[in-house]
Each structure stands twice: as structure tokens, then as C-alpha cells.
């Protein structure tokens, strides 16, 4: 008995020595060892929301997060299935040394941005890749639409997402194909009613005014993230503020024949000198989109796009936006899939492109005191996305590199601003 008891004591002592001293930080790796990349963003966002701070280790293990090691944090990560590694001071010191000597940086994360998603009240979260990702990651957002924007509610938020909306007011030209479909008839009626209620003569007039308010939101310092058709049509609505861009089926008057010349591209964020599609029977808005998915004869096949590798220390913002565990990602269609290189403004930062192709996929820039980011395509895990397709179940794509790019955008406004070095 005495021998056994001694052995147990020795074993206990050995265990105490072998265990690390009480860990102070949790490392959330974002490389291939991470079980659920998408929920890792939610765990980080919610920690910030509750007043904790963290760090984003750019280019370190796929863009890992460093969070305080608290029982609550461990519990949240465990519930979400997010992989984490407790770090002691020695391990953390080694990581910091590696970051200091490589193309990596540690960006402090301080405050979770207040998020608004511009989307019709009746839309389901599954209609939009961003709301799908936010829902899955457990990140709260507020849905706003024309009434709220017109009421001035944009000032309540720091981050705004746009997805489906056709800001030219032509309802994505679905009239061409779906004019007899009950859902389209209902959509058209809802938009007409909203325009009248808010005091506008037509749907295009309302949408252009909403676009103008979004432009002001960015100018004042807001973060804008847009995908799919909203990217292209927002630009057209801003540049064509004083031009009739809409076909007769929606506002009773044909499009201005001289619209191309009258566009004021200085008002736009990202594009210039694009050519508008004048035919109401061609399902395209302009030559901004490189893939033209709905136009036979113009439609381009999908390839892959490559993320740029920025200097983490000198270009932290683009670096944050491209943090991923894959550098090459499968492309995916949307009403607007990509952005033609020839219409990009010189100051645009290209975040991802298809090498050799005349288009890019993912762009970013500053405007006034704010920033905008455009990501072409509709749903990174539904490349051919067609109306009526079953919604994407992100629990089956929890390591999606394409969806990570969306969530990078949600988190990057939380980063503490550093003086730009370039």
C-alpha cells in the first residue's frame, strides 16, 4: 500500500510538471487543422462584441485568431466545434518572434462592427450568401430595406452588405424571363408600392436614391461589402444618378439613348467608362461583368481565381481581406460574376483575379472616409446557382475558402487602425 501511494504521488508530481503553466491565450488556427473555419469567425466576433479583445495573426496559420483564454471562450469554441490551442507565455513568445521575422503581422481586434444587411423583409437568410454565413457563424445582423434607408437608419451601422438588389430599379431584368411567374409579379408589385409610399415616381427613382444614400454612408466612413448583382448596379445607379437607365417596362419610358455619354463615373466607387446594355431583352446591365452568365454567346466558363499575397505589415487591410487557407478558389456564377479589368478605376486594389483572364473577382478601395469591397458571384458553394435551387447548407461546407472571404470582410472593420505605411 505504501509503495502504491508513493507511486501515485510521484505520478501526480510528474503530471504537474509536464502540464503547461496556466494558459493565457487561445490560438484559433485557421489552417487545415481548423475543424470549422466559418464558426471561428463567429466565436471571434462575439468575443469582441462582449468587450473582449483579440488579435488577428495575418498570414500565420491561415490567418489565425488569438483570443483570451477564459472558460466562457473555451465553452463557445467547444460548442461551435472550433479548434483551439491553449498557449502559454513561452509558446506565445515564439509565435510573436516568428511573426516579426516573416510576412506576417498581429493586428489588434477591438470592437465588433454593427452590421446591417440590405435585403427585403420577406427574404430568407438562405437567399444571400452573406446572411447564410452570418447565420451559420452566429453573428447577429439587422435587416434593413428601403424604408429604413430612406429614414436615415444607415447612420446606426458601421458595416453594410448588399447582395441581390438591382439599384437601376429594373429588377435584374427578370422581366424578360419570369414576367409570368407569380413571385416576379409579386416582387414587381411590392417595389411599385414601396416607391409610391416613399414618394418616388418609379422604382428606378427610389433605388437611385437608396444608392445615393449608400454612397453617402461610405463617404462618411462606413464599410460596404457587396456581392453578385448589387456590385454592378450600385455603381451604375450612382454614376447614372441623373440618367434614365431603366427600360420602359419598369418606368414607362425607354432608356436614354445617350446614357453611356451622360454617366458621371466620378460618383462611382470602383468603375469607370463602362458601356451600358441598352436592350431590355438582353439579360445584362453593362460590360462591367466579365462572365455575362445570362447572355448566350457572351457567357464565359467558370475557372478558378487566385488570391493576392499582400505584405501583412505594410498592407494590413488587403491582407485581412484575403486571409484564407487556400490561395486558389473555384469560381462561381452570379448575376454579376466578375469585374472586367478595363473598367476598373486606377486606385482599385485587386484582391483576387483569374490569371490571364480579362476579369478580376474581388476588389477593394477607399472612398471618402470609408471603404468598399466587391466580391463577384452569388454563392461560393453553389457555382451554377439557379433560381429555385435548394439553399446551401453551410454545415456541409464549414471549411469553405470562398465563404471565408465573406467573413474576412465582417471582421476587418474590428481591426484597430494603424497608420498606413504605403
Amino acid at each position: 500500500m505504501i509503495k502504491l501511494s508513493s507511486l501515485a504521488r510521484v505520478a501526480a508530481l510528474w503530471l504537474c510538471l509536464a502540464l503547461p503553466a496556466s494558459a493565457q491565450r487561445l490560438l484559433v488556427p485557421m489552417d487545415d487543422s481548423q475543424d470549422d473555419h466559418l464558426k471561428a469567425y463567429g466565436v471571434t466576433y462575439n468575443a469582441l462584441k462582449e468587450g473582449l479583445t483579440g488579435e488577428w495573426l495575418l498570414n500565420y496559420r491561415g490567418g489565425a485568431f488569438l483570443l483570451p483564454d477564459t472558460p466562457e471562450m473555451r465553452k463557445r469554441a467547444a460548442l461551435a466545434g472550433v479548434t483551439f490551442e491553449p498557449l502559454d507565455d513561452g509558446q506565445l513568445g515564439a509565435i510573436r518572434a516568428e511573426i516579426a521575422n516573416s510576412n506576417m503581422d498581429a493586428v489588434p481586434l477591438e470592437k465588433a462592427p454593427k452590421i446591417a444587411v440590405y435585403s427585403p423583409p420577406e427574404a430568407l437568410p438562405w437567399d444571400d450568401a452573406v446572411t447564410l454565413a452570418l447565420k451559420y457563424a452566429g453573428i447577429d445582423y439587422t435587416r434593413i430595406y428601403d424604408d429604413e434607408v430612406e429614414r436615415g437608419d444607415l447612420t446606426k451601422y458601421e458595416w453594410l452588405h448588399l447582395h441581390h438588389e438591382d439599384f437601376t430599379g429594373q429588377l435584374n431584368k427578370f422581366y424578360l424571363t419570369y414576367r409570368e411567374a407569380p413571385w416576379f409579379i409579386e416582387l414587381m408589385q411590392q417595389n411599385l408600392t414601396a416607391a409610391k409610399r416613399l414618394g418616388f415616381a418609379s422604382v428606378p427613382a427610389l433605388k437611385k436614391d437608396v444608392a445615393e444614400k449608400i454612397r453617402q454612408f461610405v463617404e462618411r466612413g462606413g464599410f460596404l461589402f457587396a456581392m453578385c448583382g448589387a456590385t454592378e448596379t450600385l455603381e451604375l445607379a450612382m454614376a447614372g444618378h441623373d440618367v434614365d437607365l431603366a427600360s420602359a417596362y419598369i418606368d414607362g419610358t425607354p432608356m436614354d439613348d445617350d446614357a453611356d455619354r451622360k454617366m458621371d463615373w466620378k460618383r462611382a466607387f470602383a468603375f469607370r467608362d463602362a458601356h451600358l446594355e441598352h436592350s431590355p431583352f438582353v439579360n445584362s446591365m453593362s460590360d462591367i461583368d466579365g462572365h455575362q452568365v445570362n447572355v448566350p454567346g457572351r457567357r464565359q466558363p467558370l475557372g478558378t481565381f487566385t488570391l493576392f499575397n499582400f505584405s501583412a505589415k505594410f498592407d494590413p487591410v488587403p491582407s485581412m481581406l484575403v486571409q484564407d487557407h487556400r490561395s486558389v478558389v473555384n469560381d462561381f456564377y452570379g448575376v454579376t460574376t466578375s469585374f472586367t479589368r478595363t473598367v476598373l478605376k486606377p486606385g482599385d486594389v485587386i484582391l483576387a483575379e483569374e490569371p490571364g483572364a480579362p476579369w478580376v473577382k474581388y476588389i477593394h478601395g477607399d472612398y471618402g472616409k470609408g471603404t468598399w469591397t466587391y466580391y463577384g458571384g452569388h454563392d461560393p458553394e453553389d457555382p451554377q446557382h439557379a433560381i429555385g435551387n435548394a439553399p446551401t447548407d453551410l454545415s456541409l461546407h464549414k471549411n469553405s475558402p470562398g465563404y471565408r472571404l465573406i467573413l474576412n470582410n465582417v471582421l476587418f472593420p474590428a481591426a484597430k487602425k494603424k497608420p498606413l505605411k504605403t
Binding site: 465553452k75 439579360n283 445570362n294 454567346g297 429555385g388 453551410l394
Partner: protein
């Protein structure tokens, strides 16, 4: 609208002259002269087929070209299309195609191959020109519209395909002959109800499209399925549409609704075929009540011995022995059976099992004895067990044991004897004999798991619980398993006994009692293997009853308490559903 039509059909007008010039040049080229004068010689064609089968595409190509001038021209062209595609020479097909079409402008196959080839080569302008020419050459023919719409649909160009259909409606005055393409188009556009309407029309004239309709409509979202059902069920009753709906319901995971689509069909040969096909699928999926109903319905049209036997078998497997005996009535002992050997192979085993299930083991025993000499040893063993189980159900354990003993020492040492030992609470014997079973049923797995966890050699209360289960008294069995668990309070088997009781309660839709049992396992048996699965089931029941908050609490507890459990990934998914974080919850 007109602008659009012009866009589709008149683009590439400038190309037409080029095509004509090319066609002229082609006629001057040394193409097979046989193109001009068809011969009946098919030697070249068959030789070409042989070479193609042997993978000698280069050698096959000139022979197929030669055969273009024979009576096998259509088949030869298809062969040439195949070998050129293998060789990457599809552009070489364009010239002979132009010549063939000029000589026979009404041959649809030539035109279809031409369109396919031009599309494969990405020659959009020439493709449009070819379509326009076909429309001009064959006014009133829906084929060019059909082929072009199909090509566009294959490429996912739904808007363009829709324009072609509209152009066809204008040109032909009707789209009756394009219902298949309309159906596919509407499905591709997500217009499920409209697609179902078109499929219904297409199926009315082409019943063979049933599988295509099922394939196209299967992705209909749950919210829209009611509209699709309404279209396919609408009066007048249309057998192909009902068959398609039945197939859809099977695919959507609601086979009972599939049967509802078929059960009211009038009794005729088409309906009987639908019922028999449905029954075949139900049998494959072991949905025996549905298989029984469908086969009984088919017997209304034509009664054959084989169909009757199938229906009786389904009835027995569905736990409906009365229906089986109604289908296969037992003839009295004095009556003559035409072919006793055949009856012993076919009807008698089913009749004996049905009698046993109905609690008439004496009648079953007499029947088995009457045909005993015609049974194979395997059949005899099965029937001995069935009769013994019949005695168990009727509560006469002595007769059950005697019945097994009548089969000799083999009967006494069989797994059936193991079940009898279990019913009597003799766990020591049950442990040994049940392990010898060659069957792997869920009941056996549960019994083995329970007896392995109880260290005592005798447990009459447990025996009673299993006996009630054997007598189809699920509620009584659930109570008995709970009582057995109470008696086993200090033993290893408490949790598994409670878990078995909870499963029975849940199967009886008594979620309140089931949840009480799961709670007891989670709270009082937290370290047992049953605890995580009990908690998962508890959470599911809470969600079924609309208590998402309660379900979330249970799932979180499961994930945090049993992080190493194999159920954690499933629990995380259920957690997402309970929180409406992924589709499926709304």
C-alpha cells in the same frame, strides 16, 4: 419581343452566304461520290463499326464516310460523329453534313448532328444560321425549335431556351409538341408548378418520360411541393402523371403519399402495372404495409398465384397476418391439395407464420405437421421457431418449449431456445444460446447488449419485459423494462433498460414518458454509454414539441459534457438546426 426574335433567329445573316459558298466548294471536293447516288452496300458501314469497337477510330472514319452514300447513311453519320469526336476532328463533320442536308433536307438526324457539332465547336453564328435554315426548310415542323431549345438547356441558358419556346409558339401557333422541352425549361428556371403542368401534358402522350419527369421535378423545394402535387393529382385521373407523382413522393421521403397518388386509380392494366411497380420499390425498401396495399390493389385487376403469394408475404412482413390468411385461405384437413410439395414451398410457410402471429399456434402446428415431409430442413427450422413463438404469444411457455424440443436436440440448443430462456428470465442460458444466432436483428442486438450488462444469472422481471415485447405489448414492455431497471438500480444495465423503455415510449408517440426516462438517464446515469444518446433523443423530442430553447440547452450540455462522444458532430448539426443557423429549420 420582335427584337428578341430577330436577335435569336436572324443574327449571322452575313454568314449564310459563306455557308452557301462553302457548300459549293464542298461539292467540288473529292468527297465520296456515293453521296450523290446512294447504294445499298453496307459492307463499309459494318467494317467501320468493327474498327470503332476495336478503338481504331482513324481507320473507321473513312469507312463511315464511304457509308454515308449507302442506305445506312443515318447510322453512318452517327458513327462518324462518334469517331470524329474521339479524334478531336469534329470540324471535319461540317462539310459532309452540309452535303447530306442539301440532298435530304427533311432528315431530322442530319440537322440534329449539325447543331450538336456546331455547338461543340463553339460556332454560335453558324449554329444560328443552321437553325434559321432548318426553320425555313421545314415550316410548321417543331423539330428545329425542339433541338435548339434542348441544346440551350444543356448549356444552362434558360433565358435563351425560353425565347426559343416563345418563338416556336409564334411560328407554330402552339407548343403542344414541345411540352417536354417546356417542362425541362420551367424546372431549370425554378418554376416548379409550371414545369409540373408541362410534364403532365408531355406524359399524356409519352408515358415513357416518367423517369425524366421524376428526375426533373425531384429538386422541387418543400414549400412548392404541394403545388406540384396538386397539378399531378388534378382531375381527370391520369395514370402516367400519378405514377410520376408516386415516384416523386418516394424520392421526397414520403412513400405513404406516393401510395395515396396511386390508390384511387381505376382497375385496369395500366393501373395494375403502376401498382405492381410501386409495390416492387416498396418491397426493396422494406415498406411492407405499402407493398401489401399495392399488391392487393393489383390483384383487383388480375389474380395470379405469384401475385397472391407476393401480397401475402408483404402482409405477413407488415405484421398483418389476417390479410395474409384472407389472401391464402387454409383448406380443411380433408381437402385435396393439388401439389403438396409446391404448397410446402410456397403457401404453407406463410399460412403457418400468419396463424402463429395471430395467436393460433395449435392450428399452425397442425398445418406444419400435415406438410412436414415436403419441407426442406431450413424451412422446418424456421417454422418450428415460428410455432414456438406463437405459443409464447399465447402465453404457453411449456408448449413453446415442447414445440422446439420436437425439432430434436438442435431445437433445444438454437437461438430460439435462447429467446425462450430469456423470456423465462434464465439469463445464463440466454447469454449462451442467443450468441449462436446467425440473424442480426435490432431486437437481438438489444437483448445481447442487455444480458451482457447484467451479471446475475436470473432476472424474471427482465424476462417479463421481453415476453411482453414478443407479445406486441409495447406499452406493457416499456413499463416492465422500467421496473427491471429499478430492480437493477445498482447494476450496469440500468441505463440501457431505461433507454430501451424510452425507445418504446417514443415509438408509441408517448414523448412525455420518453422524455422523463431520458432525463433520468442524463441526470442519474450520466457516466453510462447511454447518456449522450439519451440526451440527443431528449433534445430532438423537445424540438419536435417546439421547445427550441430547451433543445439548445440539452445539445449544449451534451457537447460540453461528452466532447469525445461520436454523437458530438450530430449534436452540433442539431444545435444549428435548433438555432435556425442552417436551412431546414424554417
Amino acid at each position: 419581343m420582335n427584337r428578341n426574335r430577330r436577335g435569336l433567329w436572324a443574327e449571322g445573316r452575313g454568314c449564310r452566304a459563306t455557308v452557301v459558298v462553302c457548300a459549293l466548294l464542298i461539292t467540288l471536293c473529292p468527297l465520296p461520290s456515293a453521296l450523290c447516288a446512294q447504294s445499298a452496300d453496307t459492307t463499309a458501314f459494318y467494317k467501320a463499326l468493327e474498327l470503332e469497337s476495336a478503338g481504331k477510330y482513324k481507320e473507321a472514319a473513312p469507312l463511315f464516310r464511304t457509308a454515308l452514300g449507302t442506305s445506312s447513311a443515318v447510322s453512318a453519320l452517327l458513327g462518324l460523329e462518334r469517331v470524329y469526336a474521339e479524334l478531336g476532328w469534329s470540324d471535319s463533320l461540317i462539310a459532309p453534313l452540309d452535303t447530306l442536308i442539301r440532298h435530304n433536307p427533311h432528315e431530322t438526324v442530319y440537322r440534329s448532328v449539325q447543331l450538336r457539332t456546331l455547338q461543340a465547336l463553339g460556332r454560335e453564328e453558324q449554329l444560328r444560321t443552321a437553325i434559321t435554315r432548318w426553320v425555313q426548310d421545314a415550316p410548321g415542323d417543331p423539330s428545329p425549335y425542339r433541338e435548339y431549345a434542348r441544346l440551350l438547356l444543356q448549356r444552362g441558358l434558360t433565358a435563351s431556351a425560353d425565347s426559343v419556346i416563345r418563338a416556336a409558339r409564334q411560328a407554330l401557333g402552339s407548343t403542344n409538341e414541345l411540352q417536354l422541352e417546356i417542362a425541362q425549361l420551367r424546372a431549370a428556371m425554378g418554376l416548379w408548378e409550371e414545369s409540373a403542368q408541362a410534364w403532365r401534358l408531355a406524359l399524356a402522350s409519352s408515358a415513357y418520360l416518367e423517369q425524366a419527369a421524376i428526375y426533373a421535378l425531384t429538386p422541387t423545394p418543400p414549400a412548392t411541393r404541394a403545388a406540384v402535387r396538386q397539378v399531378l393529382l388534378a382531375a381527370p385521373v391520369d395514370v402516367p402523371a400519378r405514377r410520376a407523382l408516386a415516384g416523386l413522393e418516394m424520392g421526397w421521403g414520403s412513400p405513404a403519399d406516393g401510395w395515396l397518388a396511386l390508390k384511387d386509380l381505376p382497375a385496369d392494366s395500366a393501373s395494375a402495372a403502376a401498382w405492381t411497380d410501386f409495390a416492387g420499390r416498396a418491397e426493396l425498401e422494406e415498406r411492407w404495409p405499402l407493398a401489401r396495399d399495392a399488391l392487393v390493389a393489383a390483384l383487383r385487376w388480375r389474380r395470379t398465384p405469384e401475385a397472391t403469394l407476393r401480397a401475402a408475404n408483404a402482409a405477413v412482413r407488415a405484421g398483418d397476418p389476417a390479410a395474409a390468411l384472407a389472401l391464402l385461405p387454409i383448406e380443411g384437413p380433408g381437402s385435396q391439395v393439388a401439389d403438396s410439395a409446391r404448397a410446402a414451398r410456397t403457401t404453407v410457410p406463410l399460412q403457418a407464420r400468419a396463424l402463429s402471429m395471430m395467436g393460433r399456434p395449435a392450428a399452425a402446428e397442425r398445418l406444419v405437421e400435415r406438410f412436414d415431409r415436403w419441407f426442406t430442413p431450413g424451412t422446418r427450422t424456421v417454422l418450428t421457431r415460428a410455432v414456438a413463438l406463437g405459443w409464447v404469444r399465447s402465453g404457453d411457455m411449456a408448449r413453446a418449449r415442447a414445440s422446439l424440443s420436437s425439432a430434436g436436440t438442435e431445437g433445444d440448443s438454437s437461438d430460439a431456445a435462447g429467446w425462450l430462456a430469456l423470456y423465462e428470465g434464465n439469463l445464463r442460458t440466454a447469454r449462451v444460446l442467443l450468441r449462436t444466432s446467425t440473424e442480426t436483428t435490432p431486437e437481438l442486438a438489444t437483448a445481447l447488449a442487455i444480458v451482457a450488462r447484467i451479471h446475475a444469472d436470473s432476472a424474471p422481471s427482465l424476462g417479463r419485459a421481453f415476453l411482453m415485447l414478443a407479445r406486441n405489448d409495447s406499452a406493457g414492455a416499456a413499463t416492465a423494462f422500467t421496473e427491471a431497471a429499478d430492480r437493477q438500480a445498482a447494476g450496469d444495465a440500468t441505463s440501457i433498460l431505461l433507454s430501451t423503455a424510452a425507445q418504446l415510449r417514443s415509438a408509441l408517440h408517448d414523448d412525455a414518458q420518453a422524455m422523463a426516462l431520458w432525463r433520468r438517464i442524463v441526470e442519474q446515469q450520466a457516466s453510462t454509454p447511454e447518456a449522450p444518446s439519451a440526451e440527443l433523443e431528449w433534445a430532438r423530442a423537445l424540438r419536435r414539441h417546439g421547445d427550441a430553447t430547451g433543445a439548445v440547452a440539452r445539445l449544449e450540455h451534451l457537447i460540453l459534457t461528452y466532447p469525445q462522444s461520436a454523437l458530438v458532430p450530430q449534436a452540433r448539426r442539431e444545435l444549428d438546426l435548433a438555432r435556425a443557423a442552417i436551412p431546414g429549420a424554417t
